[in-house]
């Protein structure tokens, strides 16, 4: 059932075209019911009943340890609920937001596949299976970013996202395989139980950095962050779903999931803290430079991703708890804000924050949701974001590798967070009314219901944190190696911790943020003027490597694919010659070849006839003569088969020779006469090359036959073909029984050849623009 629930998105994607036959509106509503029912399923079946640690397993490729193992633990449940919950809001929202879009059906296909693969990532216990889902999210993200594929910029961004996350995924695969080499295990649950073995291995650092390569590209850490702001080309619901609430958290998910195996290693904590910290600060600064609402939100998402990475890097149970709370809070408020941004875009026609203001008169419901989300983002008191920020400060104040520097960075980033919250969600709705075109309008019920609910959940969780407290504590023990029970049971969330340092710091952040917002005009003017030198930006490096790649592809194609068949074949033959003769003369002993083989007179005659006919074909000047001589070669090859115990082959060869002759008779006069185009020097050159290859082949055969032939297979078939295959002709039993799947493939190839002949001949000249 768990497996089915994970894959249901893919099943739905297959049904979308048929559902759309009933009309766009009903179809989109029906499809939107899927994430909703999944959400309820996960909530009631796992969340409320506490049925956690439930697993399902199906053997897939046991020989390599790759099996469909799915586990639903507390940590996975948090993600599963975010994925399906935000998914529900997004699916409903899109049915209105993209109602007029001609490719609405495609949109639902892509996003359903995405949802399924995201659920796959968080529930797979097997690392290879998780990797497959990981790749699927990259692909569906590519399709969704490039959704407006007629625009150059969309295509560019889609490619960028795919290439960056795709190459990271390759690193991740290598990392998974290295972990397999170290431990011999393929499941997270097994790997996480042996941190000692992993961290003492010489392959530990390569494995760790490769895994991080995957996680950092996916979660857009510096210096791989640049694809995320560009991914804002996607339709807004996609940005809300993939590029803020779920997909970009896959990297965070992975880092925490594999944390027990790496936990305690100084390299692991240092790397995560440094990269997380840099990403956090850089993104917060970049957010202030933007004017596009969606780009501001993208950079604040980046900043949060940095925070989450940093928290995993700090690595204490408290930091893990903070990470989870911050993650849930972020999914709720950022999902809301993106959907609100879409509603503003829909209602006013612009997303430029300089052009809008005071929209609360026109969009009151949206304004309430946006305010709640902004308060959560800024960490204002009764909201869930406040709890997140308190925990964040507490975790950063704990003793860690970088001392108070960590706290300073966290504090700065949180301060920027307050400012960004004001810019993106407060000022568009308050102050003087300002809008570019016609009167803005409120979003429809299908649109706002989703984000209103997510916004109020932020308030609800803030007021009643015990709803999530228990599950978060359990999730911490899922991602922390050997968490003492006492620590786990003492973890609870509360809104009010009394008057202490952390509360004071929180209030200071808020106050300072408000002060900055008051002087924002001047500050923004300065910040927008400071530009980093272009060559320092990692995205320049991306552009450069892409153009180098294309240029080198062009160059190699130009050199290798020069249009002369003769050159290609010559190159292949020379390579073959060099490689074969190199290994023949260095690794093997040519003296094993025995030149003594008993030969009878008729064998010499057969060999002579084949040789003479071959020479005749090569030397002949007439086509008919060549066809006849070629037929003789074929017939005598068949004779060889029949002498040496292969009557089936002989019969097949005879019939084929007959058919070949008929074929040639039919077309021979349509074919051009034999012409001598090549120069004499070319002919000599080719002759020597071909002879050298021929000689190598002869030596190769003699080398192979001089060695002992392994007999296991022959014996196996000889023993079982009558008893198991019920046939006395072993060759036929192999063809139709033991290796029938191969034969099936071969007759399919044959059928394609026949269809190819048909298609080629029926293709009329003028169909292709010739003549």
């Amino acid at each position: 059932m768990l497996l089915f629930s994970v894959l249901s998105g893919i099943i739905v994607a297959c049904l979308v075209p048929f559902l759309f036959k009933f009309g766009r509106k009903p179809a989109s509503i029906i499809i939107s019911m899927v994430p909703l029912s999944l959400f309820l399923y996960y909530l009631f079946n796992f969340g409320i009943t506490d049925n956690l640690g439930y697993s399902e397993s199906i053997e897939f490729f046991p020989a390599l340890g790759v099996n469909l193992n799915f586990v639903m633990d507390s940590y996975a449940l948090i993600f599963a609920l975010i994925i399906t919950g935000i998914g529900t809001a997004v699916f409903f929202y899109s049915s209105y937001y993209l109602a007029e879009h001609p490719y609405l059906d495609r949109f639902y296909i892509y996003i359903s596949i995405f949802m399924a693969s995201m659920l796959g990532i968080v529930t797979s216990d097997n690392m290879v299976i998780m990797f497959i889902f990981w790749e699927l999210t990259s692909i569906s993200s590519f399709l969704l970013i490039g959704f407006k594929h007629r625009e150059e910029k969309s295509r560019y961004s889609a490619w960028q996202a795919l290439l960056v996350t795709g190459s990271g995924a390759l690193a991740l695969l290598a990392g998974i395989l290295l972990l397999y080499v170290i431990t011999g295990k393929m499941n997270f649950s097994e790997i996480n139980a042996m941190p000692g073995i992993i961290q003492s291995s010489t392959l530990f650092l390569p494995a760790m950095f490769l895994v991080l390569g995957g996680a950092f590209t996916k979660s857009a850490q510096m210096p791989f962050h640049f694809w995320l702001p560009n991914a804002m080309e996607a339709p807004t619901p996609v940005s809300a779903y993939l590029h803020s609430a779920t997909m970009v958290k896959a990297g965070i998910y992975l880092m925490a999931r594999i944390n027990p195996a790496f936990q305690g290693a100084i390299e692991w904590e240092t790397t995560l803290t440094i990269f997380g910290g840099i990403t956090m600060l850089f993104a917060a600064y970049m957010a202030l430079k933007q004017t596009d609402l969606k780009r501001i939100l993208a950079y604040t998402t980046l900043s949060v991703l940095g925070t989450l990475t940093l928290l995993i890097g700090i690595g204490t149970p408290l930091a893990m708890q903070a990470m989870l709370v911050y993650l849930i809070a972020h999914a709720l408020y950022k999902g809301t804000l993106f959907l609100v941004a879409g509603a503003i875009d829909h209602g006013t026609g612009t997303r430029n924050i300089d052009e809008i203001g005071g929209l609360r008169k026109f969009m009151p419901i949206t304004a309430v949701a946006a305010t709640l989300a902004a308060f959560s983002m800024a960490g204002v008191l009764p909201l869930f974001g406040f709890i997140g920020k308190e925990l964040l400060y507490e975790a950063a104040l704990q003793p860690n590798l970088f001392g108070y520097t960590t706290f300073a960075i966290v504090f700065l980033a949180a301060l920027f967070g307050v400012v960004a919250a004001g810019m993106s969600a407060i000022f568009p709705f308050f102050g003087q009314a300002k809008y570019p075109n016609s009167k803005p309008h409120e979003a429809s019920f299908t649109m706002y219901s989703g984000y209103v609910i997510t916004a109020f959940l932020g308030l609800l969780f803030g007021l009643l944190p015990m709803i999530v407290s228990d599950n978060v504590a359990k999730a911490v023990s899922d991602i922390y190696y050997n968490l003492p029970v006492a620590v786990s049971s003492s973890m609870y969330l509360a809104l009010w911790h009394g008057f202490n340092l952390v509360l004071f710091l929180s209030l200071a952040t808020l106050a300072l943020g408000i002060v900055i917002l008051m002087f924002r005009k001047k500050l923004f003017a300065i910040i927008r003027k400071i530009n980093l030198p272009e060559y320092l930006l990692p995205s320049k490096g991306y552009d450069m490597s892409i153009s180098i790649l294309i240029a080198s592809a062009r160059l190699t194609t130009k050199v290798l694919q020069n249009g002369y068949l003769r050159n290609y074949i010559t190159l292949i033959l020379i390579t073959l010659l060099i490689l074969t003769s190199y290994s023949l003369f260095t690794f093997s002993d040519l003296s094993v070849i025995s030149l003594y083989h008993p030969v009878t007179i008729y064998e010499i005659i057969i060999a002579a006839i084949i040789t003479i006919s071959t020479i005749l074909v090569v030397k002949s000047s007439g086509r008919l003569q060549a066809v006849a001589a070629l037929g003789v070669v074929g017939i005598f090859v068949a004779v060889v088969f029949s002498i040496y115990g292969a009557p089936d082959l002989a019969m097949t060869q005879y019939s084929i020779e007959t058919l070949t002759v008929i074929l040639f008779v039919l077309v021979i006069y349509k074919l051009p006469k034999f012409m001598h185009y090549s120069k004499f020097s070319h002919r000599m050159q080719d002759f020597f090359l071909a002879s050298a290859v021929g000689l190598t082949m002869t030596i190769l055969i003699l080398m192979v036959t001089a060695n002992e032939m392994p007999t296991e297979f022959k014996e196996y078939y000889g023993k079982t073909s009558y008893l198991l295959g019920k046939g006395r002709n072993i060759v036929n039993v192999i063809l139709v029984d033991y290796r029938a799947l191969d034969t099936l493939g071969e007759i399919v190839v044959l059928s394609l050849a026949a269809l190819g002949v048909f298609a080629l001949l029926k293709l009329k000249k003028d169909d292709r623009g010739f003549e």
């Binding site: 019969m651 019920k726 139709v736 029938a740 099936l744 007759i747 399919v748």
Partner: protein, 138 residues
């Protein structure tokens, strides 16, 4: 190519060759033969007929468009592999009936598979020959 001798001979050869091809097909499991050879012999018979009487006559005699033969053969081969599903075995597991038939010996899914191969081979050979000779004629 109208030759009385060839035409007369072909009239007798065709049924004999077809019969021979069936013989090759069905005894293939125990003696030389099988679907590939049988199919080739059968298509050689039709090719001979088309040389003697022309392609149009050969097509008329065959009655079925060769592409349908290809499709039928492939489906048959695929289906023979799927019979194993009925007893929850993996694809292509051979199933045999316990009865012994005169002439064929035991009947089983590999024989059905070979029949599929036989039909595919006839289909592709004739499709190729007919297409090419049609292209050449007009």
């Amino acid at each position: 190519m109208k030759s009385i001798i060839l035409q007369t001979a072909t009239r007798y050869l065709l049924p004999m060759l077809l019969l021979f091809s069936f013989f090759l097909l069905f005894r293939g499991h125990n003696s030389p033969g099988g679907g590939f050879v049988g199919g080739l012999v059968a298509s050689a018979a039709y090719a001979l007929y088309s040389i003697a009487f022309g392609v149009e006559e050969a097509k008329k005699l065959l009655r079925i468009e060769p592409v349908y033969l290809i499709a039928t053969g492939l489906m048959l081969a695929l289906f023979s592999g799927m019979i194993a599903f009925f007893s929850f075995d993996t694809f292509m597991t051979a199933k045999w009936s316990d009865l012994n038939f005169p002439l064929f010996g035991k009947l089983g899914t590999p024989l059905l598979f070979d029949l599929g191969v036989y039909i595919v081979v006839i289909g592709i050979t004739l499709k190729i020959l007919f297409t090419i000779s049609e292209e050449v004629k007009p």
